[in-house]
């Protein structure tokens, strides 16, 4: 399947928005592992995922054409 990756803040400095082909990955736990292998700088950082704009709080299934946001800790205000 194919998903869209969008990144923000300091993560956007090394991880561009892109389409990603996934094989055998069905949920956000597996996606985290895949992303950290593909983009090693991620593994030492704190980040949260959002699937289709919804913050991931428990392991969530991923579907074809989902949009996954990779977000470092928030620092608004």
């Amino acid at each position: 399947m194919e998903i869209e990756i969008i990144s923000f803040g300091k993560i956007a400095e090394f991880l561009q928005n892109q389409e990603l082909q996934l094989e055998g990955i069905v949920d956000t736990e597996q996606l985290r592992e895949h992303l950290e292998n593909k983009f090693p700088r991620l593994s030492s950082m704190k980040y949260k995922l959002a699937v289709n704009k919804k913050l991931v709080q428990v392991n969530t299934l991923i579907n074809n054409n989902d949009s996954v946001a990779i977000m470092p800790p928030f620092s608004g205000g």
């Binding site: 803040g9 300091k10 959002a50 704009k53 946001a69 620092s75 608004g76 205000g77």
Partner: protein, 147 residues
């Protein structure tokens, strides 16, 4: 989620004192209000390893931030007897000394306005996907972390 329209809290650039004054003035016709509470966030010229922060550049995941702010707004209105709630947050480059956040709550008596204002600021900082890049005078930068 209710069907109320999602409000846009974002403004490009700093929040001017004229905008804030105007916002206060608009409430003079709302005579059920007896107390206003206002919080303003200002960009601080922090000194980090000998370099001074000259500006913060704010970016957001806008759709997600506005949906979350809508949720917070609904919850705050349920929790406190407020007459009004206004939230404005800057995007883009905000120089030190300029205002980047304006939260304004009003109620019949002071307590709900004060408590709601505080809670909105705390939740906004913790829950909205907004990022601040601290830019130093020599154009290097580091990413802000909320305390």
């Amino acid at each position: 989620m209710s069907e109320k329209k999602i409000k846009n809290i974002f403004v490009n650039g700093p929040i001017s004192s004229a905008f804030i004054a105007e916002s206060i003035a608009k409430h003079s016709t709302k005579t059920a209000i007896g107390g206003h509470s206002i919080f303003m966030g200002q960009v601080r010229a922090d000194e980090i390893e000998g370099k001074t922060v000259s500006a913060i550049e704010y970016t957001t995941f806008e759709d997600a931030a506005l949906e979350k702010m809508h949720e917070i707004r609904e919850e705050i209105f349920e929790k406190y007897p407020l007459n009004c709630m206004h939230v404005h947050h800057s995007l883009g480059n905000i120089k030190n000394g300029e205002i980047c956040l304006f939260v304004f709550t009003s109620s019949a008596h002071r307590k709900p306005a004060i408590d709601a204002c505080t809670e909105i600021v705390e939740r906004l900082k913790a829950e909205l996907p907004i990022w601040g890049k601290e830019i130093f005078e020599d154009n290097t930068h580091q990413w802000k972390e909320n305390k």
